[in-house]
Symmetry: D2
Subunit: 96 residues, 4 copies
Amino acid sequence: MLVDFSISPIGKDESLSRYVAQVYKLVEVSGLPHEYHAMGTNIEGDWDAVMGLIKECRDLLLREADRVSISIRIDDRKGVTDGLARKVRSAREKMG
Amino acid sequence: MLVDFSISPIGKDESLSRYVAQVYKLVEVSGLPHEYHAMGTNIEGDWDAVMGLIKECRDLLLREADRVSISIRIDDRKGVTDGLARKVRSAREKMG
Amino acid sequence: MLVDFSISPIGKDESLSRYVAQVYKLVEVSGLPHEYHAMGTNIEGDWDAVMGLIKECRDLLLREADRVSISIRIDDRKGVTDGLARKVRSAREKMG
Amino acid sequence: MLVDFSISPIGKDESLSRYVAQVYKLVEVSGLPHEYHAMGTNIEGDWDAVMGLIKECRDLLLREADRVSISIRIDDRKGVTDGLARKVRSAREKMG
């Protein structure tokens, strides 16, 4: 499945890049296929792997902040294993 | 933590209430504090309980559809255990 | 159309209820059908009315904070004008 | 402001790439800075320009489907005009 997630502390700095950097490090360590974009991080993997990673990110931020906000959007499609690369390509091909 | 989630099959009927009804049944069985609203379901509980429930809902819908879309928003605040009831009340009190 | 939105300042207090109260006031003034829930506010109306209201909420919060985060989910279905009340009821009826 | 949005018809095909292609075309025509990713499209611009574009995408899909689902996330930060390129770069630099 494909998952787009974004996580940030509430009540801390206005700049969030320090926290995003910590999330990126956990994403790298996970070894899961991923795509960073300006509004979140896309991950591809099965439910337990992806949700386990997001839980780790949340545990990490809760060590620095008392409140954390997380947004997750999931596109779960049977039989699709190359979704991260395929989705944008497939739409582009149909632009004609 | 407080979680708002919404789940729907892609490529099935335009009417989704049949699927929402199935989700409601799993929510009831979970025993977790919850609030149904027009755009999703709010659940209160710890990470594993809430995510376990959402995974069950997804497994259920994937038995009927080949593609499922899920949106999850989390507000995780240390020491808050009565968030579901408290949040709207707390804002209302400050309306003055 | 039905719209669930949530708005909060980044880099301010950990408690957000003061800001939510300000949003509630604008919602009341708009006169649009609405439903407050623990994770956001549901509004029913046409595009310009609802988006105009959310823009007002954002303008208000940007007077207090330098950074604002907004999440909006829209369910736009032709011919549905009583969505706010109907959606939960319709699913409940199908729970059997 | 930076906006991540995703739009899809409900009750149509399981494959959505045809619809995404139509959205991409409107994005190109808008001339707004953008970034396509596997789970949505990021746009940078002021409120009216970005929301006007999303409304056009919704009008387009409502000509083909009776129900449309839209997800929008906004990061509105005063004084930031190069957010699309800057956000990932800024976090990467802090990965150390």
